[in-house]
C-alpha cells in the first residue's frame, strides 16, 4: 500500500500520460521502492488507480523480472550471470557471496538482510564481474571488495564502493589512445566535465536547437539527417532520416518520439555511459527529432535497472526545463515539448521497438505485428519514432557541423559516423571506445582493447551483442561497419564486441547465451517460446556430457524452424549463437559428445582480474 508520501507523487505520474494505464510500471516501481516488493494489496491499489482489474496489473507485474512479488531481504544482491560477465568470473562471484553470506541464488540470509538473485545482463560487461545491490551498481568486484560491501551494508546500510556515474575506461587510458576526433565521448573526456547543463553549454551544447527551432523547416532538418547517412545505433541500423520521413505530415497528432534507452543487449554498455555522463547531448537530440517530426511529447524508455541513469536524466530534464529548452515555446520558437523518463522493470524484449511501445502503454512487453509500423500507428496508435540514445546524441553534431562532415567520417556512404563500441571479454582493456566506423576488428582489439589478456590466444568474437553470430580470429581483418560485419556472416548490431580466448568452451558459451534468450523470450510466438526451452535443454545436456550425434542435426533443424517464423527478430537472434558456433566450432560439440563431458572442464581456473576465465 502506498504511503502518504508516495500518494503525493501519483497525480504527477498520471499527468505524464494521455492514458492512465501507462502509469503501470511507474506505479509498480513506486510500490516496490516503498516496500521492497509488490504486494497483492499494492496491485489492487494500482488497479483502482488505473481503472483496471487486479488480474490486469498482476499479468504485467509478472512479466517484468525486477518486480519482486514476494518479500525479499533488505539488500537485494543481483549478480549478472550472462556470458560477458561469466567470461570474467561472475560464477566465482556467486561462490564468494556464498562464502561470505551462506546463501545461494534464490536464498535470503537468516537475518533477512540479503537476498541473492542471478540476473541477466545489466549493461556492465566491460566492468565485470558485478552486482546490483538495490539501486546501486558494484563493478570490477574482487573477493575483498565483496567482503567490504557486505560489511558496510550491514553496519551503515550504505557502501562507498558503489560505482557511477558510469564511465569506462578511466580518462587517462582514453587520452592516450585518442587517434581520432571523438564526437559523442568528446565532452566527457574534458577534465572536470560533469554533464551538467552548464558544462554542456560551455562545450557548445544547445547551439543546434538555436539554429533549428523556429528557423528551419522540420522537413529541412529531416533532409539534413537523411543526407548525413546516419543509421540507427540500437541494432538494426535503419537510416534515421528515412525513419523520420515516414511520419505522416498531414496527421493531426499527437505524434511521439520514444527514446530507446532500454540498453539490454548483452555486451552493450554505451548508452549507459552517454546518459549518465552527458545527458544533455541526448536531450538536445530528442528536441531536434521532435521538432523534425512534429512531436510535442517524448518518452525516454530507460531500462529499469538504470536507476542512477534515470535520476541523472530527470535532473538534466529539470535543468533543461529551467533553461527554457523544454516546455512551452522553446527559445521563443513557438515549439512546445515535454520529455518524460519512463523506467522499465526488467525485460530485454522491451528494447524491441514495438514491445517498448506496449510496455509504455502499461502492458506486457510483447512485440506487435508489423505492419502497421510505428511511424503510422505507434504509441497509443499515433505516429511514433523510436530512436536509440546514441542515434539521437549524434543529431546536434550533424546540425552543427553539417551532414557532409558526418558523411566524411567512417565508412561512407553506407556506414558514416563514429560508433561507440563496447568491448568486453578476455581483453586487457575492456570499455567503451568511440571510433569512426570502418576500422578493422584487429585494430579494435589491439589498439583499443589492449589485446588478449594474459597472452592467451583469441578464439571467438561476438561482434554486435548477444544477437550477433560468432566470428573467429579469421575475421580479425573485417571492417567494423554495417557491411563489413554482414559480409562476414554476422551483424554490427549494437556495437558490442566480446572477445573470447582459447580456453572458452563454445558449447558453454552458446548455452550461456541461450539461458539469456530463454529467460528473455516474451513467450508470444510458439517457435521462440517453446524453441528456446528445447534448445536450451539440448545444450544443457550436451555440456553435461549427455549429448548425442543426432542432437547436432536436431539443433540446426530447430533453429531453422525458429528463424523467420516469429513476430519480431528475437527468434532470429536466439539461434545465432547456436548456428554460428556449430558452423565454426562443430568439432567442440563433437568432442563433448565423444568424450561424454565438456573437454574444458577441470582445467585450472584462470584468474583474470577477478574470477575464473569461463565460469566452470
Amino acid at each position: 500500500m502506498f504511503s502518504a508520501e508516495a500518494k503525493k507523487q501519483i497525480p504527477d505520474i498520471l499527468k505524464r500520460y494521455p492514458i492512465k494505464a501507462s502509469a503501470m510500471l511507474p506505479l509498480l516501481n513506486l510500490a516496490q521502492e516503498e516496500e521492497g516488493w509488490v504486494s497483492e494489496d499494492s496491485m489492487r491499489e494500482i488497479a483502482k488507480l488505473l481503472d483496471l482489474t487486479p488480474p490486469k496489473v498482476y499479468e504485467v507485474a509478472t512479466f517484468y523480472t525486477m518486480l519482486n512479488l514476494k518479500p525479499i531481504g533488505r539488500f537485494h544482491l543481483q549478480v549478472c550471470k550472462s556470458l560477458m560477465c561469466a567470461l570474467v568470473g561472475s560464477d566465482t562471484l556467486i561462490q564468494w557471496i556464498d562464502q561470505e553470506l551462506g546463501i545461494k541464488p534464490g536464498e535470503t540470509t537468516e537475518d533477512g538482510m540479503f537476498t541473492l538473485s542471478t540476473v541477466e545482463c545489466l549493461a556492465s560487461c566491460g566492468t565485470a564481474p558485478m552486482m546490483q545491490v538495490n539501486d546501486d551498481y558494484f563493478e570490477r568486484l574482487t573477493h575483498e571488495k565483496v567482503r567490504q560491501v557486505f560489511e558496510d551494508l550491514r553496519t551503515t546500510g550504505k557502501c562507498s564502493l558503489a560505482t557511477g556515474p558510469f564511465r569506462w575506461p578511466e580518462p587517462e587510458v582514453v587520452v592516450l589512445m585518442a587517434a581520432f576526433e571523438k564526437v559523442l565521448l568528446k565532452n566527457m573526456d574534458m577534465p572536470g566535465y560533469s554533464g551538467s547543463l552548464k558544462d554542456y553549454e560551455k562545450a557548445g551544447g544547445y547551439q543546434a536547437i538555436r539554429t533549428v527551432l523556429g528557423k528551419m523547416k522540420p522537413d529541412d532538418l529531416i533532409d539534413i539527417v537523411k543526407k548525413s547517412g546516419l543509421r540507427g545505433r540500437g541494432g538494426a541500423g535503419f537510416p534515421t532520416g528515412v525513419k523520420w520521413g515516414f511520419i505522416p505530415k498531414d496527421h493531426p497528432g499527437p505524434k511521439y518520439l520514444c527514446c530507446n534507452a532500454d540498453e539490454s543487449e548483452p555486451g552493450t554498455f554505451k548508452d549507459r555511459q552517454l546518459m549518465e555522463r552527458d545527458p544533455h547531448q541526448v536531450l538536445e537530440g530528442i528536441i531536434l527529432c521532435c521538432y523534425a517530426i512534429g512531436a510535442h511529447t517524448s518518452y525516454i524508455y530507460i531500462r529499469g535497472e538504470f536507476i542512477l541513469g534515470a535520476k541523472l536524466l530527470e535532473k538534466a530534464l529539470a535543468e533543461a526545463c529551467e533553461a527554457g529548452y523544454l516546455g512551452k515555446n522553446i527559445l521563443g520558437s513557438g515549439f512546445d515539448l515535454d520529455v518524460y523518463v519512463h523506467r522499465g522493470a526488467g525485460a530485454y524484449i522491451c528494447g524491441e521497438e514495438t514491445a517498448l511501445l506496449e510496455s509504455l502503454e502499461g502492458k506486457r512487453g510483447k512485440p506487435r505485428t508489423k505492419p502497421p509500423f510505428p511511424a503510422i500507428s505507434g504509441l497509443y496508435g499515433k505516429p511514433t519514432v523510436i530512436n536509440n540514445v546514441e542515434t539521437l546524441a549524434n543529431i546536434p553534431y550533424i546540425v552543427n557541423r553539417g551532414p557532409e562532415w558526418f558523411m566524411s567520417i567512417g565508412s561512407s556512404p553506407k556506414s558514416p559516423g563514429t560508433r561507440v563500441f563496447s568491448l568486453s571479454g578476455h581483453i586487457a582493456q575492456p570499455g567503451n571506445y568511440e571510433v569512426p566506423m570502418g576500422i578493422t576488428m584487429r585494430e579494435m582489439l589491439e589498439d583499443y582493447g589492449g589485446g588478449m589478456r594474459d597472452g592467451k590466444k583469441l578464439k571467438a568474437i561476438i561482434p554486435g551483442g548477444a544477437s550477433a553470430a560468432f566470428l573467429t580470429e579469421e575475421h580479425l581483418d573485417v571492417k567494423l561497419d554495417f557491411e563489413g560485419i554482414a559480409e562476414a556472416g554476422s551483424m554490427l548490431g549494437s556495437g558490442a564486441i566480446t572477445f573470447m580466448n582459447e580456453d572458452t568452451c563454445m558449447v558453454w558459451a552458446a548455452e550461456r547465451l541461450l539461458e539469456f534468450f530463454h529467460h528473455e523470450s516474451c513467450g508470444k510466438c510458439t517457435p521462440c517460446r517453446e524453441g528456446s526451452m528445447w534448445l536450451l535443454q539440448i545444450l544443457h545436456r550436451m555440456e553435461a556430457g549427455h549429448g548425442k550425434h543426432e542432437d547436432l542435426d536436431l539443433l540446426l533443424r530447430l533453429c531453422g524452424n525458429i528463424e523467420g517464423q516469429t513476430v519480431c527478430a528475437f527468434g532470429d537472434a536466439e539461434i545465432a549463437p547456436i548456428t554460428s558456433t556449430l558452423k565454426h566450432f562443430r568439432h567442440e560439440y563433437e568432442a563433448h559428445i565423444r568424450d561424454g563431458c565438456c573437454p574444458f572442464r577441470g582445467q585450472p581456473a584462470e584468474l583474470v582480474g577477478a574470477g575464473t576465465s569461463h565460469g566452470h
Binding site: 497483492e40 496491485m43 488497479a47 483502482k48 481503472d51 483496471l52 482489474t53 487486479p54 488480474p55 490486469k56 498482476y58 499479468e59 509478472t62 512479466f63 523480472t65 512479488l69 525485460a347 506486457r364 510483447k366 505485428t369 530463454h518 529467460h519 528473455e520 523470450s521 516474451c522 513467450g523 508470444k524 510466438c525 510458439t526 517457435p527 517460446r529 517453446e530 524453441g531 528456446s532 526451452m533 528445447w534 535443454q537 539440448i538 545436456r541 543426432e550 536436431l554 524452424n561 523467420g564 517464423q565 516469429t566 513476430v567
Partner: protein, 863 residues
C-alpha cells in the same frame, strides 16, 4: 468498402477490402490451421500456425494478420508452408502432456486435429517436459495449463468481448501461464467464454468433468430458457443408456443465434435442472391433505370433473388461469385457448403482469406495436445508446454484449441511467463503459427521463421535422413540463440538472439513438408513465420513426413477448377478465372458485403480506402444472408434472421479437408431459375437443388465427397520430410530467431493491448444480461505507426491518451498490419476502413489490 480480388491456391476469390487472408481462404473452404486467431477477437498472430506463402513476400506470413490486397497470390499448401505448420506443432507437442485419453476436449481439439493432419507419430523431443503444477481454479471451470498453447484467446475474449478482465496472462516466455490473480480462485462472471474459445483442453467445464467423450454426445440446437435475450444453445446429451437422459454440457457456436455463440453463466452452466432429483414425475391428487400419486387418467378425469362442476355451478368466470411466461408459445396459445374456449372465460393472466405489460401498453399506445422496432444489429451499429434501469450485465447479459460491442468496437456513446456505481471489478458492469453515467435513485429513474424531455424542449433540441409535423404536440409537452424543473428531478433522482441537459443534448444530436428500458423501471411504480415519457423523448428527438433507432424493452423471462403475443392477458377483449392481483383477491373473497396455474408460483412471487396462500387455500379447486413442488403447488388439489423446455418442442419469442425454435433434447422426465398436451387432453376429457398431433399443428393454428407480424415492425403512423391527437385534445395537465420525489424516512434510511442476479433466473436456476456452485444463497449487497456506518462486515448477519416485517440475512459488501441502497437477489426472495409489500398499478394492474424502505442492525449470535 471496395472489393478485392486475389488468388488462393490457384483459385480466384473476391472479398471485401480489409478481409484477412485467413478469412478469404475460408470463403473458398480452405481451413488454414490456427490456434490464436478467432474472428471475434483482434488478431495477435502469436501461435504462428497459420503461415502461408504470399508471392513477393520472402518470409512466410501469418494469414491471420495480413489483410488482402488486390492481385495477391497466396499458397496455403506448399511444402514450405506445410513444413512451417509441422514445426509449430512439433514445438507445441514437445511440452504437451499428450493426456488426450483423459482430456475432455479430446475428439474436438484443434491440436489433436492438426496433429492428426500433420505430424509424424514420433517426436524427437527427449528432454524434460515443462510441468505446471495443478491448481484449483474454480468450482465450474477447470484449468489445465500443461495443455495450454498460449494463444491467449481466453484472455482476449475476457478483456475485449466480455469486458470482465478476469484472466491474466502471467509470467514470461516458456513459463507463461493463465491465472486469475495470484493464487486466488477465479472470481468472475463465469460466462464460460474461456472454455468455449479455448482451442485445446486448457479450459474445460468442471461441472461435467470426465462425464463424457464428445463423440458420444447427441447435439440438440435450442433456445435458452432463462432470460429474454433468446440465445441459441446446443445441448449435448448422453442418451445411449436409458438411465443417462441428461444434459452433459452446453455449447453455443460462433456465428449462430442472436447471441453469435456468446453465453452468460446461466446459459452455460445452468443446464442441470431437468434431472434434479426433486422433479415431479407423476400426477398427484390431494387426498386428506396429502398428495398421492395417481395415473394420468385418474388425474385427468378428476380435473375434468371438478372443473366442469365448478363451471356449471358458478359460471365460467369462477375459474381463473395463470401461466408462466417461461412456457413455449405453443403452450401459451393452448393455455389461453383452454381458458377461453374449454372453460369459457377471459380470466387469464401470465407473469408478464409483473412488469412487461407496462411497456407493452405504452408501446401499443404510441407506436401501435409492442414489438421492438429495432434489432440487436441496430444496437451494435448505434451512435448513441441510452440505458434506463436495465442493470444490463446481470439481467440481460447478451444484450449487454451488443452494447459493449457498440461502445468498444463502434465507438458508440453510452448514456446510462442506472443505480449501480461504475466500479471496475472482474464482473463487468455496463456503467463502466458509459460516456455519461447518471447514477439515479432506483425509485426515481423516471425523473431523469422527465428531466431529459424538459431539457430537449427548453434547450431547442426538438427535431426540426417533428416540430413542423406536430407543432401542437411540442407545444403541449412544453406546457406539460412548464411546471416542473430540473432541480425537482435532481432532488428526486440525485442526478444533476447539468448531467440531464448534457444527456439530452448528446441523445438528440446523435444521428441514431436507441433507448433500452429494463426491469428497474418496468417493475417499479410509474413504469407505464416512464415508458410513455421515453417514447416522447424518442419522438421529440426524431428517433421514434427513424430506421435503426427506437425503443427496446428488455424482458427478464425468456418468453414474455411470446406470452403477450399469444394473448395470455385478460385485456384487449370486449369483456376483460381479472388481472393477477385481482384474481388473488377474487379467490380470497370467493368470486373465483378455481384456479388453473401453469408454471407460476404466486405464493413466492408476491410478498407474504399479500397472503396469497390464504387466498389459494380458499379456492375450491387449484390445479398446477409444475416441474417442482413449489409453495403454490403444495396448495394444489391436483399437481400435474410438466416437461421442462429441454424435453419438448416449440418456440420462444425473445425480447427483440424473434421467434426461435425450442427442440426436445431429453426424453420427458418421469411421466411428465408438455403443458400443451396436458391442456389439450384435459379439454378432451371435458368434452371440448382439442386435437393436436404435434406443436406443428398448434403453430399452423396460430398462423391462421393471427395477422402476420413483421419481425421488426415499423411504427404505425395512424396510431401515432391518434396518440398525439389524444394527448393534445386533453385539456388537463398531463400528470406524466409531475415529478414525484421518493419520500425519505429517518427510521428507514435504506432503499431495498430486489432484482436479478447474473447467476440465476427465477427460481428454476437454483436447481442447476453449476449455478449453485457459483452462487447458492442470497446476501444483502451494500456499499462498504454503509457497512461501516451500520457496523457490518462482509459475511456478517443483519436484521433488516421494514414497515411490513423483518428478515435476518447475510451481508455482502460491494462498492458497486450506491451508499443508501441495498440489493437482494430475487431468486432467494423467500428469505426477505416479509419486508416487502405490494402496490398495484392503477392503470395496468401490475403488482409492484420489488422495493422497500428498510433499516438494518447487525445481529450477533450467542454461542
Amino acid at each position: 468498402m471496395g472489393r478485392v480480388k486475389l488468388t488462393i491456391d490457384k483459385r480466384e476469390v473476391e472479398v471485401e477490402q480489409g478481409t484477412l487472408v485467413i478469412e478469404a481462404a475460408r470463403e473458398l473452404g480452405i481451413d488454414i490451421p490456427h490456434f490464436c486467431y478467432h474472428p471475434k477477437l483482434g488478431y495477435d498472430a502469436n501461435c504462428r500456425m497459420c503461415h502461408v506463402e504470399i508471392e513477393k513476400s520472402p518470409k512466410l506470413q501469418a494469414s491471420c494478420s495480413i489483410p488482402v490486397t488486390d492481385g495477391m497470390v497466396v499458397h496455403t499448401d506448399t511444402e514450405r508452408v506445410n513444413e512451417s505448420h509441422k514445426s509449430v506443432l512439433e514445438f507445441i507437442l514437445a511440452n504437451h502432456p499428450l493426456d488426450c485419453p483423459v482430456c475432455d476436449q479430446g475428439g474436438r481439439c484443434d491440436l489433436q486435429d492438426y496433429s492428426h493432419r500433420y505430424t509424424p507419430t514420433v517426436s524427437p523431443f527427449e528432454d524434460v517436459k515443462r510441468v505446471f503444477n495443478k491448481e484449483y481454479f474454480s468450482p465450474v471451470i477447470e484449468k489445465q495449463m500443461n495443455r495450454c498453447v498460449s494463444c491467449t484467446r481466453c484472455v482476449r475474449y475476457c478483456d475485449d468481448v466480455i469486458d470482465a478482465q478476469a484472466l491474466a496472462s502471467t509470467g514470461r516466455g516458456s513459463a507463461s501461464e493463465i491465472k486469475h490473480f495470484g493464487a486466488h480462485e477465479l472470481d468472475c462472471e463465469f460466462c464460460g467464454g474461456c472454455v468455449q474459445i479455448c482451442p485445446v483442453g486448457a479450459f474445460t467445464n468442471r461441472v461435467s468433468m470426465f462425464d463424457y467423450r464428445p463423440w458420444m454426445l447427441k447435439r440438440t440446437d435450442t433456445t435458452c430458457g432463462y432470460c429474454g435475450d433468446g440465445c441459441q444453445l446446443t445441448f449435448q446429451t448422453r442418451d445411449q443408456q436409458s438411465t443417462a437422459n441428461t444434459i452433459i454440457e452446453v455449447q453455443s457456436f460462433h456465428g449462430t443465434g442472436r447471441n453469435n455463440g456468446d453465453l452468460c453463466a446461466r446459459g452455460y452452466f445452468g443446464f442441470g435442472f431437468p434431472n434434479h432429483e426433486d422433479r415431479l414425475t407423476h400426477p398427484l391428487i390431494k387426498r386428506d391433505g396429502t398428495h398421492v400419486q395417481v395415473t394420468w387418467e385418474e388425474a385427468m378425469e378428476y380435473a375434468a370433473e371438478r372443473l366442469t362442476e365448478i363451471k356449471e355451478q358458478h359460471g365460467p368466470d369462477a375459474v381463473a388461469g395463470l401461466a408462466s411466461a417461461r412456457l413455449t408459445n405453443e403452450d401459451l396459445y393452448v393455455f389461453q385457448k383452454f381458458m377461453r374456449v374449454s372453460i369459457g372465460t377471459n380470466q387469464l393472466d401470465s407473469s408478464i403482469r409483473y412488469g412487461h405489460v407496462n411497456a407493452a401498453t405504452a408501446m401499443v399506445k404510441v407506436q401501435g406495436t409492442a414489438r421492438w422496432t429495432i434489432t440487436y444489429e441496430d444496437i451494435v451499429q448505434a451512435h448513441t445508446i441510452l440505458l434506463l434501469g436495465t442493470n444490463l450485465t446481470e439481467t440481460n447479459p447478451i444484450v449487454g454484449l451488443k452494447v459493449k460491442e457498440a461502445v468498444k468496437k463502434g465507438g458508440a456513446q453510452l448514456i446510462t441511467i442506472e443505480s449501480t456505481v461504475p466500479v471496475i471489478q472482474t464482473i463487468s458492469n455496463i456503467t463502466n463503459l458509459a460516456t455519461l453515467h447518471m447514477q439515479a435513485n432506483p425509485l426515481a429513474f423516471g425523473a431523469v427521463i422527465q428531466g431529459m424531455v424538459k431539457a430537449v424542449l427548453d434547450d431547442g433540441l426538438v427535431n426540426a421535422d417533428i416540430r413542423t409535423r406536430y407543432p401542437q404536440y411540442v407545444e403541449r409537452l412544453t406546457q406539460d413540463t412548464a411546471n416542473m424543473s430540473l432541480s425537482d428531478c435532481e432532488q428526486a433522482a440525485g442526478v444533476t440538472g447539468d448531467q440531464i441537459k448534457a444527456a439530452a443534448k448528446a441523445f438528440s444530436e446523435a444521428p441514431k439513438g436507441i433507448v433500452l428500458v429494463g426491469q428497474g423501471v418496468l417493475r417499479a411504480p410509474g413504469a407505464l408513465e416512464t415508458t410513455l415519457n421515453v417514447l416522447d423523448l424518442l419522438l421529440l428527438t426524431g428517433k421514434l420513426d427513424q430506421e435503426e433507432s427506437g425503443l427496446g424493452v428488455l424482458t427478464e423471462e425468456n418468453n414474455e413477448q411470446g406470452a403477450l403475443e399469444m394473448g395470455v392477458v385478460p385485456e384487449h377483449v370486449p369483456e376483460p377478465g381479472l388481472r393477477l392481483p385481482e384474481m388473488i383477491e377474487a379467490a380470497r373473497d370467493g368470486h373465483v372458485k378455481a384456479m388453473y396455474i401453469v408454471g407460476e408460483n404466486p405464493i413466492e412471487s408476491l410478498p407474504p403480506s399479500v397472503k396469497v396462500r390464504d387466498a389459494l387455500n380458499h379456492l375450491d379447486l387449484l390445479i398446477c402444472h409444475e416441474l417442482f413442488m413449489t409453495e403454490t403447488a403444495k396448495c394444489a388439489d391436483i399437481v400435474l408434472p410438466a416437461c421442462s423446455y429441454t424435453e419438448k418442442d416449440g418456440t420462444f419469442t425473445n425480447s427483440e421479437g424473434v421467434v426461435q425454435k425450442v427442440r426436445r433434447a431429453l426424453d420427458p422426465v418421469g411421466e411428465s408431459q408438455p403443458d400443451w398436451e396436458i391442456l389439450a387432453q384435459l379439454s378432451n376429457f371435458m368434452n371440448v375437443p382439442m386435437e393436436y398431433e404435434s406443436v406443428k399443428d398448434i403453430q399452423d393454428e396460430i398462423r391462421h388465427s393471427q395477422a402476420p407480424m413483421r419481425k421488426t415492425p415499423r411504427l404505425d403512423r395512424k396510431v401515432l397520430d391518434a396518440y398525439i391527437e389524444h394527448e393534445t385534445s386533453n385539456s388537463e395537465i398531463n400528470h406524466r410530467y409531475v415529478v414525484t420525489k421518493p419520500g425519505t424516512k429517518d427510521t428507514r434510511p435504506l432503499i431495498l431493491t430486489v432484482g436479478q442476479s447474473l447467476f440465476h433466473s427465477g427460481k428454476m436456476s437454483t436447481f442447476a448444480k453449476g449455478l449453485n456452485a457459483i452462487q447458492s444463497e442470497g446476501a444483502l449487497v451494500m456499499h462498504p461505507d454503509d457497512g461501516v456506518k451500520y457496523g457490518v462486515e462482509n459475511g456478517s448477519t443483519v436484521k433488516m426491518v421494514s414497515d411490513h416485517g423483518e428478515a435476518v440475512i447475510p451481508v455482502k459488501l460491494n462498492e458497486r451498490r450506491p451508499p443508501g441502497t441495498v440489493f437482494f437477489p430475487e431468486h432467494f426472495g423467500t428469505h426477505i419476502g416479509a419486508v416487502l409489500s405490494m402496490t398495484t398499478d392503477p392503470t395496468t394492474g401490475v403488482p409492484y413489490c420489488s422495493s422497500a424502505r428498510v433499516s438494518i442492525t447487525p445481529v450477533s449470535f450467542e454461542v
